[in-house]
Symmetry: C2
Subunit: 345 residues, 2 copies
């Protein structure tokens, strides 16, 4: 089964509701930038590349929604749409990258009618989606070459088809390795509190018949100490100019353990996730989400009443712990500022 995380259907955006997977598989429909922003905020869609694609469609939808307005009202409405989308989630840079790209397209056609602008923006959103899949497949091929036949590979969270327009970044590497005839098996952390590992990555790998084993977030160290993990591949929400990697909370712990056990730690990272404007990881904004998420899962709460709660959604892994950045332009081993600048050279 091909996972279409986002699709254009009947002149609207449809997104798989990732909050209810794998118990239910359902598409939700979006008509405006405002509803797409809410879909991003509430994590109907998540994963840095998928958020970028969703935001691009959000801009296109808003233009379509406003195309009968006067030029002045169209402009005002579009600006509001951009603002609302930009405020939906703070950490994944792909969101801002996609908005910037859509804005440039808009600015290039300001003399045209709202209808023409709307058409042009929709074409650009389609192109961003198609590009994302092409990029994932290029990354996948580059990453697959790093994995030995028989490798047992740990991943954290979901950097899969569900986190992108399709194929996936980290899980794209696994798909490409399997396509290349390698027998690999995947170990995935459940990834509290939103359980992207238990719900989404496990589901994707089962769909693909790639062997997958689920563990809780506190078990990776034990498996590494017992020689049961050969490599780690994760995705990322933003990479700073010096190679520091922001990704789902818990990634840093896995990286520290991988270093202790001399296990290679790879980050699958499309160029759109690299933020050259951020010097180092300590400047990457880390989203703190609602404490409700940590009290339990969905409406089922188990935490003791009266306890305080923290819920940082991401952490930063320093570049020194990263064995290699897997990009669509090749693998940057031991990434640093110089290695990253070369990608854009």
């Amino acid at each position: 089964m091909k996972v279409e995380t986002l699709r254009w259907f009947n002149n609207r955006l449809e997104m798989i509701d990732q909050r209810i997977l794998p118990a239910a598989f359902e598409y939700l429909s979006y008509y405006t930038a405002h509803s797409v922003a809410e879909g991003i905020r509430s994590m109907v869609v998540r994963g840095a590349p998928a958020i970028g694609v969703a935001a691009a469609y959000g801009v296109a939808l808003e233009a379509q929604h406003l195309q009968e307005k006067s030029a002045a009202d169209f402009k005002t409405g579009m600006e509001t749409g951009f603002t609302v989308l930009a405020a939906s989630r703070p950490t994944a840079v792909n969101l801002f990258w996609a908005l910037q790209r859509m804005r440039k397209v808009w600015e290039s056609v300001t003399t045209q009618s709202p209808q023409q602008v709307a058409q042009r923006l929709l074409a650009e959103a389609h192109e961003i989606l198609a590009e994302d899949i092409r990029i994932n497949k290029a990354m996948g091929a580059n990453g697959a070459a790093l994995l030995k036949d028989g490798a047992r590979v740990l991943t954290h969270c979901n950097a899969g088809a569900l986190a992108t327009a399709g194929w996936g970044t980290a899980l794209g590497v696994f798909r490409s390795a399997v396509e290349a005839g390698k027998k690999i098996s995947v170990i995935v952390d459940e990834t509290r509190p939103f359980l992207q590992g238990a719900r989404l990555t496990a589901w994707e790998m089962v769909q693909e018949n790639i062997p997958v084993t689920l563990i809780t977030d506190n078990m990776a160290g034990h498996l590494m100490a017992h020689g049961e993990i050969d490599a780690v591949v994760v995705g990322t929400d933003r990479v700073a100019a010096n190679g520091d990697v922001a990704n789902k909370i818990g990634t840093y712990m896995v990286a520290v353990l991988a270093r202790r056990h001399n296990i290679p730690f790879y980050v699958a990272c499309p160029l759109s996730t690299i933020d050259l404007n951020i010097a180092s990881g300590k400047d990457i904004p880390i989203e703190e989400r609602s404490v409700e998420e940590v009290k339990g899962f969905r409406d089922y709460h188990w935490a003791a009443e009266g306890v305080k709660i923290r819920n940082p959604a991401f952490d930063v892994t320093p570049a020194e712990l990263v064995t290699g950045l897997i990009t669509e332009k090749g693998v940057v081993l031991q990434p640093d500022g110089q290695g990253i600048r070369k990608l854009f050279g």
Copy 2:
């Protein structure tokens, strides 16, 4: 509120049902070794010292249950009781320590009537319970001296009153620090899959008005990297002769991170938890529990269908990562075989 994890009431053992805390607070009653063994296996009671006390009462209950039998039937029944209790859980050594102690008492009174033996065994179980609390308070005082006023201390799982006859080992250190006038605050990992941190430690600390913050198991690294944790104190299920520490799965990951961030990592450990018969941590049996526990929590399952699951309940932290073992006889800094032997000298 004083937490009486286990209590002798109306000639039976009562134990708080820790599977349903904190949603409900309820005692279950036990009359035989067999039911106590099932209570240990199913984690009505958990925590190494509490398991030891429960097992002692299990032996006493079985003697009481069989006291009208012939001497031969009494002996056979008692042997079965010992066997069933010993098979309940494999990792916590206190279970075997308590059974050994009860067996010695039994062997010292074999010429007496079953009724007299039953009385003597019950007295010994009472003494083990009372001793456990005295030992915890001695450990607490020794450990409290290690914590600075204002310290923000991370703990994992529940090594509290609920894991002992009362007061607690790691949480006993916190109680003693507060009693000594120190202002400390506790950060606790939720401790998947059984959620002892979110349910039990958070509940105990709220009861005591000790400030407590809940995080998921993958957040400790982020907090350490941001300078938000000053020390770690955990309990243990078994310490090998060389100082290696078996404790709840995830402890090893916390220890590795603490070392990276130069944060002291202490283990609260009554002498009954030290197993001189085990040379090093790699010989400590690690219980693998039912995969059902990792699929979700209680009957609420969220994991994708068809995923394989691992569920090791404990891991081993090598002695080199332990800053100090806090015992009732004092603190062993940088524990090794020599330091541990001195405790028994």
